[in-house]
Point group: C2
Chain length 209, copies 2
């Protein structure tokens, strides 16, 4: 297996943390997103969508979506379980991971890609040129904060995001919360549950991955 | 189990088709999205994100993301397999379902929600008011067409979207392609592979679900 990574990007970091929790050593190839390596002809052969992470299996199959990579590695290396241990737990972990992706990470991506100077013409990932939409950056910032509050309400009821166990939803949310902080969108002052959860998630040794 | 549905919306249709493929009869409750039933206090108790589908389990747990519902029902009712039969097949089916969701359905949603007259103030699903961004509607239409072309290239290599078997990726893509057509974004003239796939997928008896 080969893992196409980029140290500075949030999506592949999810896989790095997941692998660290499992104690897996992945053969890693760094892709330099800042210099546009993802748009080269060589990399387009690997992933025509021009994104990382990519997990390349020994038969050449390439997995290019994080949740699919999680699912695959979980089946191969079930311990410690990071997608729950019953059908219901697995569905809940997946649901919360999707919510963080589609409401949190997506909002943050809108905020970042539609405002960063270096991303003009790259308002969406991938090979197609899309101009930035400033209103969308603003909407993304608002939606990011609202999703942080949504997570806080969830964490009033449960220790971790998917329930009383640590899961892929926590890994995804940690990456989201820390990238949001980097965009200067902090955990809201009164979000005590999210703050408590964040301290626990960020203090795991793997969080440095 | 209870299934909160809406006959006119694309997301719950994915679950209806999935259930029909499995021969499952779900106890269905219709939610009238057109009159705004998803925003009532009663429905917010069921799903604070104000969306359908929702699958409510007998212990009261509610699954509110389609892929999580697929995963759960597949584990309970493995036959016929709709998420593949090996770890690799499952990961590929999940990957393509995510791609259709995040590049296809999301683009279409941008196009629809940022232009439809009845959705002013509802440019995103959920309880928060977001004004329409006309540029985003336009970008969504462009991205929808480009994703139809992306699917066509994929289907040059494989019979179905995830490989040589019918899966949740096909169900998701069928709903995407038909909703795009309803938005008057048709299958591109030269997309022969997608056309061939569409004829097969749409002629399955369950497609009427």
């Amino acid at each position: 297996m080969k893992f196409y990574d980029c140290r500075t990007a949030p999506s592949p970091r999810r896989v790095r943390i997941f692998a660290a929790e499992k104690g897996l050593q992945l053969q890693t190839i760094e892709v330099d997103l800042r210099s546009g390596e993802q748009f080269t002809a060589e990399f387009r052969e690997i992933n025509p969508d021009c994104t990382v992470p990519v997990l390349e299996l020994d038969d050449g199959t390439r997995l290019t979506e994080v949740l699919a990579i999680f699912q695959y590695l979980e089946e191969l290396h079930p311990e410690p379980a990071l997608i729950g241990q019953t059908a219901e737990q697995r569905a809940i972990a997946m649901m919360w991971t999707l919510k963080v992706e589609q409401h949190g990470l997506a909002a943050m991506r809108d905020a970042f890609r539609n405002s960063a100077k270096g991303l003009e013409g790259h308002a969406m990932t991938g090979p197609i040129q899309y101009e930035q939409i400033p209103e969308l950056a603003e909407r993304g910032r608002k939606a990011t904060t609202l999703f942080l509050e949504r997570l806080d309400r969830r964490l009033a009821d449960t220790e971790f995001i998917a329930g009383d166990y640590y899961s892929i939803a926590d890994i995804t949310a940690l990456v989201f919360v820390e990238f949001a902080a980097w965009l200067k969108i902090g955990i809201p002052e009164n979000a005590k549950n999210l703050q408590r959860w964040y301290e626990a998630a960020a203090s795991r040794p793997v969080a440095a991955s």
